[in-house]
């Protein structure tokens, strides 16, 4: 009964790659509670575009009470286009943190796979995992492997390479491995015993198969259209292998039980 939608002050808004924006928002409550892999609902402020835009948390600065979102403007006249026009100093309506983040997977060697606009949530996760590894006195950033797959233009590579062993893949092979993130994994012989993946559905399906075949624990962060973002409307379900406790049918809510699921739970429809 204490939660509400709030106004976050935009501290910085930058186009870090064509049509990819990075936004730092001051919003104490969210920064305090947020975990890697959770998301927020952003609202456009335009009276004709009412639904929330779910955006993953890319970085959390708890001390400064701010979070970073990295998002793609999907087209002209879209909600994200409106959001991208807001400038530092202005406010944006925001709600969160929502959903469940990535589970820690202690003691394992993590392999993080991010594709396209699924890359941003990997940053905070990589930072957290690096810190955890350092705590366990492992060799800092060497302990975390990230593979980031792009169409062509890169973003967030500097931040990622600061906290992980970073491998790149591009569709045209202009940078890093040519092809998908899994092509890079194979090419470079990358290994891990827990996989965290976020990206387009075909990529997640391939990662699911890859992990299953090798018996690797794997977490997928899913995407689905959302209305409420808090588990009330049943818009955002994904197929689950088991009859789900909440729905009593094989439907889990991406916003509530997700967006991160253990790969073996997910049944694609």
């Amino acid at each position: 009964m204490s939660r509400q939608k709030t106004q976050g002050k935009i501290l910085e808004q930058t186009e870090i790659s064509p049509r990819i924006y990075s936004m730092w928002i001051r919003v104490q409550d969210i920064a305090r509670e947020a975990k890697a892999g959770q998301f927020v609902s952003l609202f456009t402020g335009d009276g004709s575009k009412l639904l929330p835009r779910p955006i993953s948390i890319c970085e959390i600065d708890r001390e400064a009470g701010k979070i970073r979102l990295v998002y793609r403007v999907t087209g002209k006249r879209t909600g994200t286009a409106i959001l991208s026009e807001k400038q530092a100093g202005q406010y944006v309506e925001i709600m969160g943190p929502l959903g469940n983040g990535f589970p820690p997977g202690r003691g394992r060697r993590p392999l993080l796979l991010g594709g396209g606009i699924g890359i941003p949530p990997m940053l905070q996760l990589a930072k957290d995992l690096k810190e955890a590894a350092e705590f366990e006195e492992k060799t800092g950033k060497e302990a975390v492997t990230v593979v980031a797959g792009y169409r062509d233009r890169l973003f967030l590579t500097e931040e990622l390479s600061a906290c992980s062993r970073l491998y790149l893949a591009t569709e045209d092979g202009s940078v890093g491995s040519k092809g998908t993130i899994l092509d890079a994994v194979r090419e470079k012989g990358l290994e891990g015993d827990v996989i965290y993946a976020c990206g387009p559905t075909p990529m997640l399906q391939a990662v699911q198969t890859y992990a299953r075949e090798r018996g690797i624990l794997c977490y997928l962060s899913l995407e689905e259209r959302m209305a409420c973002g808090i588990g009330a409307c049943l818009a955002c379900v994904c197929g689950s292998r088991e009859v789900d406790e909440h729905s009593r049918v094989k439907n889990k809510r991406v916003c509530k039980e997700g967006p991160v699921f253990e790969a073996s739970e997910v049944e694609w429809l």
């Binding site: 509400q4 929330p52 409420c228 009330a232 009593r248 049918v249």
Partner: protein, 302 residues
């Protein structure tokens, strides 16, 4: 100055309720809203057995509105009674269960199962546009509406609210049929059937092809239908369709609704119900209405 309203003998502490399907079972929004402040919580549609609902995408955004084709996914009345009702019963608010079915017997089974439960009113959804059988098919033909209303009324222990579809030529005809069948209260409007097409993919935006349009976009249609219905029947009306602000809620009261439901607005402002409630109270005071009943239907010409 009182905010109480009376629906078929059930007193609500105020006229603000939630619209079925937009508020889950109440539990999800209890983090945002003190349920005890609401006039009533209306639950998501409940059927006799668990329903899977439709494939995704189940929703799409439209100008000042949205389409949904959830397809009435629900865990069935048994789970509902054991898991959701106890939580609701603890809240200091009225509990209205929205009932859906594919056949008349489905509805009756749910209604009978709820007979001895802590449920204040039953809202019978004969207007869902997103399921193949049942739903809207019942709600578009006056004879059918009268028949199913009478069957349910016969069995129901609680007063029944018939929830009407706006996808009809003449809402008053349907409303009168429900009244004739014994409905205690009417709820209107459910969603308008709509469609969206993704022009780049050249496919339907919703897996179900069509969905139900809700939100501010439909408010003028809803207000008109509430007004027309209020002129045509004597039973109370719960008005809904696009209510986002207290002004919207007052519009429905002035048009002839005794209470209002807030639906889609919860999605873009989880605190909407409370803001609306507070706005109605201020308005009532400012205009010197001693009761909500005094406001109901008070619209006049210039």
């Amino acid at each position: 100055m009182s905010l109480c309203v009376n629906l078929a003998g059930v007193e609500l502490k105020n006229p603000v309720m939630t619209a079925s399907g937009t508020f889950g079972s109440g539990a999800e929004y209890s983090e945002f809203v003190d349920l005890g402040r609401l006039g009533a919580v209306v639950t998501k549609g409940v059927a006799n057995v668990p329903w899977e609902g439709n494939p995704t995408p189940r929703i799409a955004e439209t100008a000042s509105g949205m389409l949904n084709a959830i397809g009435l996914q629900n865990p069935g009345v048994e789970v509902f009674c054991k898991r959701d009702l106890p939580m609701l019963a603890q809240q200091d608010t009225r509990v209205i269960v929205n009932v859906c079915g594919r056949t008349t017997e489905d509805y009756l089974e749910v209604v009978e199962r709820l007979a001895d439960e802590a449920v204040d009113l039953l809202e019978i959804n004969i207007s869902c546009p997103n399921v193949k059988a049942g739903g809207i098919a019942f709600g578009q033909d006056p004879k059918g509406v009268e028949r199913i209303t009478a069957r349910i009324k016969e069995k129901a222990r609680q007063p029944i609210i018939m929830k009407l579809s706006p996808n009809v030529t003449d809402i008053t005809e349907i409303a009168k049929a429900a009244e004739a069948g014994g409905a205690d209260v009417l709820s209107l409007i459910n969603t308008l059937t709509g469609m969206q097409i993704d022009v780049e993919k050249q496919c339907f935006a919703l897996a179900n092809r069509t969905g139900g349009l809700s939100g501010p976009a439909i408010k003028p249609i809803a207000v008109r239908m509430v007004y027309q219905t209020a002129q045509a029947v004597r039973i109370p009306i719960i008005g809904m369709g696009g209510i986002s602000s207290w002004e919207d809620a007052v519009e429905f009261l002035l048009a002839g609704a005794t209470a209002v439901s807030v639906g889609t607005a919860n999605f873009y402002d989880p605190g909407a119900t409370i803001k609306i409630l507070e706005g109605i109270a201020t308005y009532q005071e400012r205009h010197g209405f001693a009761s909500i009943a005094e406001m109901v239907g008070k619209v006049t010409c210039r």
